[in-house]
């Protein structure tokens, strides 16, 4: 765990700290006064209905220029990154597995994977790398243009595989479980869990279907509703409540935990 000395005392530095963040997209406030703290070696689950601002939160952490921070701060490993661009944040160790990644004609999946691995386009993948690609059922996609004519599930598998090769310290995943068949869901989830355990890095996972919860060992979840965060509780408990009583209950519930992790 990274440490820093503060006035003689040793204090742990959080992986990510969001302080009182307000974000506008195209002049409209999408997130208001959000605060979050993420530590390393953990998985965090973010619940929220459609349109609650989950994707905007992910994009804001990544530094996408269309997400305008009007107030508040984002700190990564103690450093204020609010003014940093996407590339700088990526190089610090943040990356996103997108829900709807763009199609790029002529750019092959293998080109990108090799780039992350520091390989030349002529170099071959190692035996282990090939095995992992095979496990993701993406061998036949290596020479395909990235995301072009990929199905929903294929995109998810490709995004997660890219993340594993890219090795970010903070892995932001936007609905990795939507539009994925049962078998792929199990594979993707297990690989994410494996990644966190093996590398000590963290994942912040957006879901609104909860499918991933059966496989990811996470103690932390929060609920995003109408641009604000409500309740920080155990993911399975939270999901049970949402399923039984809907998202509104997370705002009104007597047992909700307002203290952040």
């Amino acid at each position: 765990m990274p440490l820093e000395a503060v006035s003689g005392k040793v204090k742990t530095v959080n992986l990510l700290e969001i302080e009182d963040l307000t974000v506008e997209v195209e002049g409209k406030i999408i997130l208001s006064n959000i605060s979050l703290r993420l530590k390393d070696k953990e998985s965090y689950i973010l619940f929220g209905p459609n349109g609650s601002g989950k994707t905007t939160l992910i994009n804001t952490i990544m530094g996408m220029p269309f997400c305008k921070v009007t107030s508040g701060k984002i700190k990564f490993l103690g450093e204020d990154i609010t003014g940093k661009n996407v590339e700088e944040r990526a190089n610090l160790g943040i990356s996103v597995g997108f829900q709807y990644p763009p199609e790029i004609a002529g750019v092959k999946l293998s080109d990108l994977l090799k780039l992350y691995l520091g390989k030349d386009s002529k170099d071959d993948f190692s035996y282990e790398e090939k095995k992992l690609i095979e496990a993701f059922k993406l061998t036949d996609f290596l020479e395909r243009d990235i995301n072009v004519d990929f199905s929903g599930g294929e995109r998810k598998r490709s995004e997660i595989l890219q993340m594993i090769f890219l090795k970010p310290k903070l892995l932001l995943l936007d609905e990795p479980d939507s539009g994925v068949d049962v078998e792929s869901l199990k594979l993707i989830s297990n690989e994410i869990q494996h990644y966190i355990e093996n590398t000590g890095n963290s994942a912040f996972i957006v879901t609104h279907q909860g499918g991933i919860l059966g496989y990811i060992r996470s103690k932390h979840s929060c609920v995003l509703l109408k641009g604000g965060i409500h309740c920080f509780a155990d993911p399975k408990q939270t999901y049970k409540t949402i399923k039984a009583k809907g998202y509104e209950e997370c705002v009104n519930c007597q047992e909700r935990i307002t203290e952040a992790w």
Binding site: M62, M64, P65, N85, V86, E87, A90, N91, S95, V96, F98, P101, P102, I104, A105, G106, V107, D111, L112, L115, Y116, D145, Q162, L166
Partner: protein
Amino acid sequence: MAKESELTKILHQILEEAYKAGIEKSEEKRSGTLMHVDQTTLYSKVNESFMGKLELMDTKEALQRYSWLDNYRWKLVNRDKDKFTKKVAEDFSGGYFIRILPNAQVIFPLQSCLMITKTDLEQRVHNIIIAEEGSKAHIISSCIQHSGVEKASHLGISEFYVKKGAMLNFTMIHNWSEQTLVRPRSAVLIEDRGEFVSNYLCMRPVKDVQMYPVAYCNGKNSKVSFNSILYGHEKSLLDIGSKAILNGKGSRAEMISRAIARKGSNIIVRGMIEGNNPECRGHLECRGLIMDNESLIQSVPELIARKKGAEITHEAAVGKISEKEILYLMTRKLSEDQAISMIIRGFMDVGIMELPKALNEEVNRIVDFVAQAN
């Protein structure tokens, strides 16, 4: 055990230029080589292992040898079409005659190279290419100009005959100089089950290229594909079209073009598919990237249907590089500039050209070479 290639007998400086345009040094990898420099054919040779599969010689020599060639010359391109065809009809210096013999499979590319080394030269060539019944071949033709030469023009007539069940994949690479005027006039006739793939790459600055090759798909189930990758810069004017006339039952046409315009270049991409048979299909696709405010890309698709049942479609998109694509790659640690060059490189992907693997790699090498030089 490198055996000195006979090609090295040709003036070293000229060869260096030829290599840049994609001429392979080792002739073992080629089925044949023909070099036409200025007004003379300097070199023509069929690789031994391909003897009996194809013929390669200067068009003038072929006309002397084969009287039947008169049935092919000026039969697809009208000699009175314009002032350029008229000039070549008046007088020409040669060109290449290529004949792939019946049922021959020429899996390695044949390379032909037309070069201009003299200032103010007007090169006039007439090429005739015949793919006999059941044959299959890939040809690369490179047109290049020696870098020391400033003003020149190239007028080239090319007539292609793709006979029954034959497949001809013809890749043309243009490497002219900023002062060259280029006027190719090409036509192809495709018989039953014949297939013609035309690949055109123009990646270096050129003064002015205008061409509009036409394919007559007269045969039953005949097929034509026109693929172009155009990289316009330094005030180049590229007016590149292609026309497919679908007369045969079940005939098909596909046109794909990728155009990048920068530094004051103008690119006009034309395409016309004419469906004259109730069972024909055609598709035209044009994508353009405009890189600055001084350049222009104009897409002119024309679809003509004359029979009920003809199915002809097109899609076109012209614009700047997608911000979303750049940001996506930046989330993967690429800088903005790296992301842009990766997208441009991908945009010029030669995967559209249906080339065999070895040739694909080679054309990619040329594209990389040019992309890096810019």
